[in-house]
């Protein structure tokens, strides 16, 4: 069908002018987030932030990892479009927490939380009204005893219970000689409506981020693992086959065309940056970071080109101050912060711990997509160039005004939170919901038309650095008055294209019209 030109032009299409600089206001002092990520060597990584709605009002709560100190869940008390305000709860005060990811494990419509720890990992079952109970035993989950630093989840085909991947780091007992002591990652597959005994994902190379992703659009997501070369021997970045009923199997150079890459892998962010319909991956590291795009889609091999340099996202050294030393990057997340319809990229930065070869004052990056494949740095102009020692973060609409806000957890000094307060383009926010298992449709894809191109968003659970979110999925629309989107559900069913008005929240369900939702 040929659409009228006027309609096409009214849809979100990339702009090629200089991107609009968003304005963020630091509301750390008034938002009442106080949990510090504490601890020494055992907490040099981690510091995750999880955002999800557990109160049922649609506004995202915030869970902050506390490291050696107690963690905390904060209820969101922000008025819509108003100043950010949170109330500390006593719901989850575990210590030894490095990161957390929300996931409705039992698909009861109430969000659960996966908590990564030094020692036993915990599954916290949501009971409603931001109450939780420990569920390891009830769900047959062996929390193990490791230094857990990475997480990803997926519902494998035919399963009504999720598969969890947990990445583990150094053997913490090897204090005099930690190198080469990476401990096994684990795959927790379902056994009915509980977990079977964990499967070691061996070899393991000190994972700091994991992501189930359908990199080649086969409908069977693979497990991408980003590993810290500081500690492994013979290691590299990894990609695992995960086929239903089959044991996990590594992609290899010989059999699959996987190409060896060895970095200080710390975080994975994924988005269809180049609009080729396939996920691209930003991998955080020390000094230069990587932006990987498939070299040859037709070849079907996981052979990636690093386009970070030409895209302007190496983010390799501080862009404020005069320290020439290289940067240290942790959580990364693609998001359209200025609502211009082009993916932007946030990167949390912070020295590991008094490493003089790396920058001590290392500002977080806010890299704005220009629309021609390049990005420009705007962290300082936008007001988020903090030089605190950042680790985990979330770019999320905390006050449901259609503009993304930012919360960052810092080592030793506590969290920072910024509300976006300036002008921004049009937006739409979507939630996927389906009946039965996998209520939040992890593994689905939202397609949105960007002019002549179609941008694909994988709905994932995992990645980043110890930080995850389930909630409203935000789309910038630029000057458009609506978004043309469709959903490809986890079972492969392709939904119809829908025109959704800008400035609205919409709940999307399979075989059902969109349901508008209004914050109250």
């Amino acid at each position: 069908m040929i659409r009228p030109i006027a309609l096409v032009l009214s849809l979100a299409s990339p702009a090629l002018a200089d991107p609009a600089i968003p304005t963020f206001t630091d509301e750390t002092a008034t938002a009442d987030l106080s949990t510090v990520y504490e601890g020494e060597w055992e907490y040099m990584a981690g510091g995750g932030v999880a955002t999800f709605d557990c109160s049922g009002d649609g506004f995202p709560e915030i869970f902050l990892s506390g490291g050696a100190g107690p963690s905390a869940l904060y209820r969101n008390r922000s008025p819509q479009s108003g100043a950010l305000a949170f109330e500390k709860t006593e719901a989850i005060t575990l210590d030894a927490v490095l990161g957390a990811y929300p996931l409705d494990i039992d698909s009861d419509g109430t969000m659960d939380l996966v908590v990564l720890r030094q020692g036993e990992n915990r599954l916290m079952r949501g009971l409603g009204d931001c109450r939780f109970e420990a569920a390891n035993e009830a769900w047959g989950f062996d929390g193990g005893d490791a230094w857990s630093t990475a997480f990803a989840a997926i519902w494998e085909k035919g399963q009504d219970w999720p598969t969890l991947a947990i990445g583990n780091y150094i053997d913490r007992r090897e204090e005099a000689f930690p190198w080469g002591s990476c401990t096994d990652n684990w795959l927790h597959r379902p056994d009915g409506k509980r977990f079977a005994a964990q499967i070691p994902l061996s070899p393991s190379y000190c994972a700091l981020s994991m992501l189930f992703t359908d990199w080649n659009r086969t409908g069977h997501p693979s497990l991408r693992v980003s590993n810290d070369r500081e500690y492994y021997k013979g290691g590299q970045e990894q990609l695992w086959h995960l086929e239903p009923g089959q044991p996990p199997r590594l992609f290899t150079e010989k059999d699959d065309g996987w190409k060896r890459l060895r970095i200080w892998g710390m975080g994975i962010a994924s988005a269809d940056v180049n609009l080729d319909g396939y996920p691209d991956y930003f991998l955080t590291s020390m000094a230069d970071n990587k932006l990987q795009v498939l070299k040859d889609i037709a070849a079907g091999k996981p052979d990636y080109a690093d386009i970070a340099f030409k895209s302007g996202v190496t983010a390799h050294k501080p862009y404020t101050g005069d320290d020439p030393s290289p940067s240290t990057a942790w959580h990364a997340q693609f998001a359209d912060v200025n609502n211009d319809g082009i993916a932007d990229l946030f990167v949390a930065k912070g020295n590991v711990d008094q490493m003089p070869d790396f920058a001590a004052k290392d500002p977080n990056n806010l890299l704005l997509g220009v629309g021609d494949g390049t990005f420009i740095e705007a962290g300082d102009k936008a007001g988020v160039a903090s030089v605190a020692v950042a680790r985990g973060a979330q770019v999320v609409d905390l006050n449901l005004d259609g503009k993304l806000d930012l919360v960052v957890q810092n080592r030793w000094t506590g969290p920072e939170v910024w509300r976006q307060t300036g002008e921004a383009g049009a937006w739409a926010e979507l939630r996927l919901q389906q009946d039965g298992a996998n209520r939040d449709a992890i593994g689905a894809v939202i397609e949105i038309k960007r002019g002549e191109a179609v941008e694909r968003h994988e709905i994932t659970s995992g990645g980043g650095h110890g930080s995850g979110s389930v909630g409203w999925l935000h789309f910038g629309l630029g000057a458009a008055d609506r978004a043309e989107v469709r959903v490809i559900w986890p079972d492969g069913a392709e939904g119809d294209w829908m025109d959704l008005p800008a400035g609205t929240f919409q709940i999307l369900r399979p075989d059902a019209p969109p349901e508008a939702w209004t914050p109250r």
Partner: protein, 439 residues
């Protein structure tokens, strides 16, 4: 059963002193002395890998000073050893020992610990923690059963020796490294033979340590002592020597044998992914010291002279590299032969001629041959933890030649750079090998 490095270090840290209290006490004490050297060196190899400033030239410098500290610490208490003071450039005589008995294991431990803590002050939190724990555990092992006054005297002397050597090191031109050795800005040459960046890493758009060739040398007079003739003149004429050399890199690269691939990876020794090329030769020497149960004074002397030879090799090689500033094969091949060609290995971010691996390997072979002999066969398990098999050599020169050619197989050096690099290393290593360390 072959013990891995982790197991060897664990054994060294855990063996109870009670084992050393029998009739064979002296022999066991010698074992502990050797373990002080080899265990500290095992840690230093890891610190090189995990400290960002420790590029191969910088690492070679650290190996030299640590070895010199260990050797000098023993010379003050052993008349059969000869100090390097007066033999290497600018090293003053070592401070004398206090009157009274000293324990050589304690002296060695203190000298090595203090040296490592200064030379690897930039290492990260795991390295710092490991330094602290190694100091505690190895120190306890050295001190166990030794009279407290002797311990105190010995530790003080070891530390004084380290301070003495490190004070001398301060002025050599290589003590301060910023931005991991990469200049903040750089304007590449514009002639076709000029080196240009080959990396997609932003930091590596400037070449590594362009002034390293001006550093103070150890055993050879200056960085230009073993200067090389110019490389073949750049030419795009297929009949020219230069073009043929580039074409050879390409032809080998597209038809690599399994053993050539293995050789390239075995000697690759990339910074921050390994203990670097000089670290590889140190690892070989440690392995042999343990295999052949060498006495500590011999090990320390060998490590000192090996470190000196390799440090001088990097200074000499770097002086030559920046004298000729030659373009890398990948640049030439993409320009003239095949724009899509990629080498097997990561092309290092500095000029091509000569091959640094070849120079350092030539120097190392020269020193180790002087210490251990011609036709000294050995197995090299350095990269077993990285899942690369043991490689066996009939002599140190066979290993050095394998290392030199590996750079051709890896696609990052012309053959003439490997050949000339080995020759340069042989020349430089001869100065180190001529040092007198035993009376």
């Amino acid at each position: 059963m072959t013990l891995g490095r982790r197991q060897l270090i664990g054994y060294a840290l855990a063996t109870p002193m009670a084992l050393a209290l029998g009739p064979a006490q002296a022999a066991d004490r010698q074992t502990i002395e050797r373990e002080m050297v080899t265990t500290w060196y095992r840690l230093v190899l890891e610190l090189v890998r995990h400290t960002a400033t420790q590029s191969p030239p910088v690492a070679s410098r650290a190996f030299a000073y640590i070895g010199i500290a260990a050797h000098e610490a023993l010379t003050t208490g052993n008349v059969s050893l000869v100090s390097l003071a007066g033999q290497v450039n600018g090293l003053p005589p070592a401070p004398a020992r206090e009157t009274g008995a000293h324990d050589e294991a304690c002296v060695l431990h203190a000298a090595l610990a203090a040296s490592a803590q200064v030379l690897f002050a930039n290492t990260g939190p795991s390295g710092q923690r490991a330094l602290t724990k190694m100091d505690e555990k190895l120190g306890a092992k050295a001190m166990e059963g030794i009279d407290a006054a002797v311990v105190e005297r010995s530790i003080a002397h070891g530390r004084a020796l380290a301070a003495h050597v490190l004070a001398w090191a301060e002025a050599d031109g290589g003590a301060v490294i910023t931005n991991m050795g990469f200049p903040r800005s750089y304007t590449p040459g514009t002639d076709p033979e000029d080196w240009v960046p080959t990396s997609l890493i932003r930091q590596q758009q400037a070449p590594l340590l362009p002034d390293w060739g001006g550093n103070r040398t150890f055993a050879m007079p200056t960085g230009n002592t073993c200067a090389l003739a110019p490389p073949p003149a750049y030419s795009e004429d297929p009949a020219s020597e230069f073009f043929k050399a580039a074409k050879e890199v390409y032809d080998i690269g597209i038809s690599l044998t399994a053993d050539q691939t293995l050789s390239a990876r075995f000697w690759s020794d990339d910074p921050m992914l390994s203990s670097t090329p000089p670290g590889h030769w140190i690892a070989i020497a440690i392995e042999l010291a343990e295999r052949d149960v060498m006495p500590a004074d011999r090990v320390a002397a060998m490590m000192a002279v090996l470190g000196i030879g390799m440090a001088d090799a990097f200074i000499g090689c770097w002086a030559t590299k920046y004298e000729f500033n030659l373009v890398r094969p990948v640049t030439v091949i993409k320009r003239l032969i095949d724009p899509k060609w990629e080498p097997l290995l990561i092309t290092p971010p500095f000029p091509e001629y000569p091959s640094g691996h070849s120079t350092v390997s030539g120097a190392a072979a020269m020193v180790l041959t002087a210490f251990l002999g011609e036709d000294f066969a050995f197995d090299d398990p350095t990269h077993e933890p990285d899942d690369l098999p043991i490689r066996s050599f009939a002599s140190f020169w066979e290993a050095a030649e394998d290392a030199a050619l590996s750079r051709l197989y890896g696609g990052i050096h012309y053959r003439f750079s490997s050949v000339q690099g080995l020759a340069q290393g042989r020349c430089i290593g001869a100065y180190a090998a001529a040092l007198k360390v035993f009376a």
